[in-house]
């Protein structure tokens, strides 16, 4: 392929990727509001948003990993472990339990990050292994039974579950994380280096960037946010369980890709992931209203991931797909 057609293709895919997610969202919203006049009511939208908060937080972390051109498959079990840690430690540590859960997340990311960079194991395998390890440990620690937070300790959960000005706190928290990651992505060297590594790792290395260190940071951020989403889950469910985050992995990857972040790395960002979450939110609601059964919904998201990648991938950048 000549240089010129490569450039043309790039331009095409770029605009395509820029417009598609928003266009999809608009079309879906229009369809939904025709189907159900209640859909656009603020109360309904806020309700939807609070249900999507966990997914948003998880997807925001994954965005950085996909920007690197890598993938983190361990986020759901890490989130589940965080629910277990929080539920188990609240009686002793109170709010400290949440801090421990977050530290656990950072540690899990540090571990996969080190394994991926220092042992030079592809992220796909390193995090697949971590997924197995944390799932197993989650079942062992929790004795494979859900742990609930007693009513007496319920006041430790209200910082997430209560409403402020009529809006659930979980919505504020998720939006705060969105802003935080947006700043990280666009106004810090960490964000800059992640994008540069994803778009051209060798040139970034030659420019003197400590590649391994920033990759490890990215995995720590992703896992910490996964643990935070676990905390949000545990407060809403008043407990923890090794299965609490089941099904989140595929959706968390789907929102990143649907938003238009390229799996080849370097292009995309957290705002796109936000759009991706809104799309999934509306789709979820649509499918629920239409009475589509949950197993079929799972299949739909699997299909959506493949379709979204098929539409957005810039094949000229990857000559051989493995």
């Amino acid at each position: 392929m000549s240089v010129q057609t490569r450039i043309n293709n790039y331009r095409k895919t770029k605009t395509w990727v820029d417009v598609m997610p928003i266009a999809t969202l608009v079309v879906l919203v229009i369809l939904m509001s025709i189907g159900s006049p209640r859909f656009l009511l603020p109360a309904n939208l806020l309700g939807l948003l609070s249900q999507s908060a966990t997914l948003l937080v998880m997807g925001l972390g994954q965005t950085f990993i996909i920007l690197l051109g890598s993938i983190d498959l361990s986020i759901a079990p890490v989130a589940a472990m965080a629910t277990i840690i929080a539920a188990m430690l609240i009686p002793d540590l109170g709010y400290g339990a949440f801090v421990v859960a977050l530290l656990y997340g950072a540690f899990a990311g540090l571990l996969t990050g080190i394994i991926h960079t220092k042992a030079r194991i592809p992220s796909f395998i390193a995090t697949l292994g971590a997924m197995g390890v944390w799932t197993g440990i989650g079942f062992i620690v929790s004795n494979a039974t859900p742990i609930s937070v007693s009513l007496a300790n319920g006041h430790y959960l209200t910082w997430v579950t209560e409403n402020t000005l009529g809006v659930s706190n979980v919505v504020y928290l998720a939006l705060a994380i969105l802003i935080l990651t947006f700043v990280l992505e666009n106004y810090t060297r960490f964000g800059r280096y992640v994008k540069a590594m994803g778009a051209g790792e060798k040139a970034t290395y030659v420019s003197g960037v400590a590649i391994d260190r920033y990759k490890i940071y990215a995995f720590m951020l992703c896992s910490t946010l996964a643990a935070f989403s676990g905390i949000l889950l545990s407060t809403r469910m008043s407990g923890g369980s090794a299965r609490m985050a089941d099904g989140f992995l595929m959706k968390a990857i789907a929102v990143v890709i649907l938003g238009g972040t390229a799996i080849s790395g370097g292009i995309g960002g957290v705002m796109r992931t936000f759009v991706g979450v809104l799309i999934v939110m509306v789709l979820d609601m649509g499918m629920n209203m239409a009475g589509v059964n949950p197993w079929f919904q799972q299949a739909v998201y699997g299909g959506i991931i493949i379709l979204a990648v098929a539409l957005t991938i810039d094949r000229s950048r990857i000559s051989i797909i493995k």
Partner: protein, 504 residues
């Protein structure tokens, strides 16, 4: 009268910013070896890629045995009898010799989807015999030395004549770069034999080799035909004059602006050694000085430069800056020491092509645009605009992706990114590769100007002329050692032959 087996008529090909080929013509007759020579960027590779179907020409046609063809893939080109032995060897080292020879053409040995290995082996032996190679076709390729691999490649290319039922047209792209003297002789004797059953296009930088092996020679310059010569009626000087085609001693390399380096030593290198690569390399680089390394592939000159850039650590020796010893074990250590590396592979190591100009310039040092711990897009934009103007980078604006810039403008972005970090030393690894003629002169002008400001350069140039034209001092290298140090003041430049005799 021999038949013309391959004819190239008025082929043109344009890339963004570069007319790679401009109505070139070429004919190859039966049982003939035709040489194709030209400087880097003369269009040789582009033409070869068109012939084997990797590129499509914008205009003109290719005729094989009188019939117009337009191969769209390497496989299609092979069906027309056109095949190439690649510069970077294309054998798969994890497969056996026979598997490599028949890769992609296993049908002949396959029944019901199962390969008959015995039959393949017999056929492979037959093909190897054609190039006089006695070798068990079941040997894994990684066990072979480069010269033998080259022969296997040749056998692979010739093997197709059995399928196409006509004599092959074999293209050899720089076949001797990885071979030593004896191996080259061996290759040549085999090519002489091969000539009786094929037509050959021989591409090489080594004019002596081209003179030795070919019957006729085509010279390309800046994408155009610059001459067609009968080998036994010409010599190195004539070819050379046609290749370069301009007054060498003139102002092309801005020799009028060449300065005498200052006394201060910027980098002192003592006995730098890496086993198997280079040995006891010592030199002083002075403020404002341009030192070139001249040598063939494998001379170790690239490795020395990469060691100083922090990309490939030396085993022994000492590098010191201002008298203090330095450990350059990573690019960031090199950058801290004030060394900027302009790599040969601009699109991979030089720039992040999918980022725009601003982020590429600020990548080595974000502190320029950091305010209170946060990056300032506004400062970044200003900085990018400054360098775009300062280096006259032709781009729509700071947000233009580097991918969409021409080679010369990309190179200016690479230079800007290092200048923004205030480097004291530039390591230039083929800085004008893939840069068109006009932009080359701009790069030369810039190098002179920066040298005047006291920046020192280590240079690996694209051609000997560039080496001689730009440098204050030339080190010839051979087998990892500096063989001679030749001064090259503006008024008394050495001749290419003075360098070559210390390189071979």
């Amino acid at each position: 009268m021999q038949d013309i087996v391959l004819e190239v008529r008025n082929i043109s090909k344009k890339f963004p910013g570069v007319q790679a080929l401009d109505r070139v013509n070429l004919q190859v007759k039966q049982h003939e070896i035709v040489g194709l020579v030209g400087e880097n960027g003369a269009g040789k590779s582009t033409l070869l890629k068109i012939l084997i179907g990797a590129y499509q020409p914008d205009q003109g046609e290719v005729l094989v045995r009188g019939k117009p063809v337009r191969p769209r893939s390497v496989k299609e080109a092979t069906d027309f009898g056109l095949s190439m032995v690649f510069q970077e060897q294309s054998l798969l080292s994890n497969l056996t010799v026979q598997e490599n020879i028949f890769l992609g053409n296993e049908e002949a040995f396959t029944r019901f989807g199962v390969i008959n290995w015995k039959k393949m082996k017999r056929e492979a032996e037959k093909q190897l015999a054609k190039v006089d190679l006695e070798l068990d076709p079941g040997t894994y390729t990684y066990k072979l030395n480069f010269a033998t691999r080259q022969m296997v490649e040749l056998a692979r290319v010739i093997a197709m004549e059995d399928r196409t039922k006509f004599e092959p047209i074999v293209i050899l792209d720089e076949p001797t770069t990885v071979l030593d003297g004896n191996e080259i002789d061996l290759l040549f004797s085999r090519l002489h034999k091969l000539k009786e059953r094929a037509a050959i296009i021989f591409v090489s930088h080594h004019l002596e080799e081209v003179l030795k092996i070919t019957d006729r020679i085509y010279v390309f310059k800046d994408g155009k035909n610059a001459g067609e010569l009968i080998t036994r009626e010409t010599d190195v000087n004539e070819i050379h004059r046609l290749m370069v085609g301009r007054e060498l001693r003139g102002e092309y390399y801005r020799q009028g602006k060449q300065i005498k380096p200052e006394e201060d030593v910027v980098i002192k290198v003592e006995n730098l050694t890496k086993s198997g690569k280079y040995k006891d390399v010592s030199f002083d680089l002075h403020k404002g000085e341009i030192i070139s390394f001249a040598g063939v592939l494998g001379s170790g000159r690239e490795d020395v430069c990469r060691a100083l850039a922090g990309l490939d650590r030396a085993d022994g020796g000492k590098i010191s800056i201002n008298g203090s010893k330095l450990e350059i074990d990573s690019p960031s250590a090199a950058i801290k020491a004030g060394i900027g590396y302009v790599p040969q592979d601009r699109g991979i190591e030089g720039l992040v092509l999918y980022l725009s100009i601003g982020p590429n310039i600020t990548l080595p040092d974000l502190s320029n645009i950091t305010h209170r711990g946060f990056l300032s897009p506004k400062s970044e934009r200003r900085l990018a605009e400054h360098w775009i103007e300062r280096m006259s980078i032709k781009a729509p604006g700071p947000n233009a992706l580097c991918l969409n810039l021409s080679g010369g403008n990309q190179q200016k972005v690479v230079l800007s990114k290092w200048l923004a970090t205030k480097v004291k030393v530039f390591i230039l690894d083929h800085p004008t590769r893939g840069v068109d003629v006009g932009a080359k002169e701009e790069v030369y002008e810039l190098i002179r100007e920066l040298a005047k400001q006291g920046i020192a350069f280590l240079l690996i140039a694209d051609t000997l002329e560039e080496t001689i034209g730009l440098s204050n001092m030339i080190f010839t290298m051979k087998d990892g050692e500096i063989t001679n140090r030749i001064e090259a003041p503006a008024d008394n430049k050495p001749l290419p032959i003075d360098l070559i005799k210390h390189m071979m």
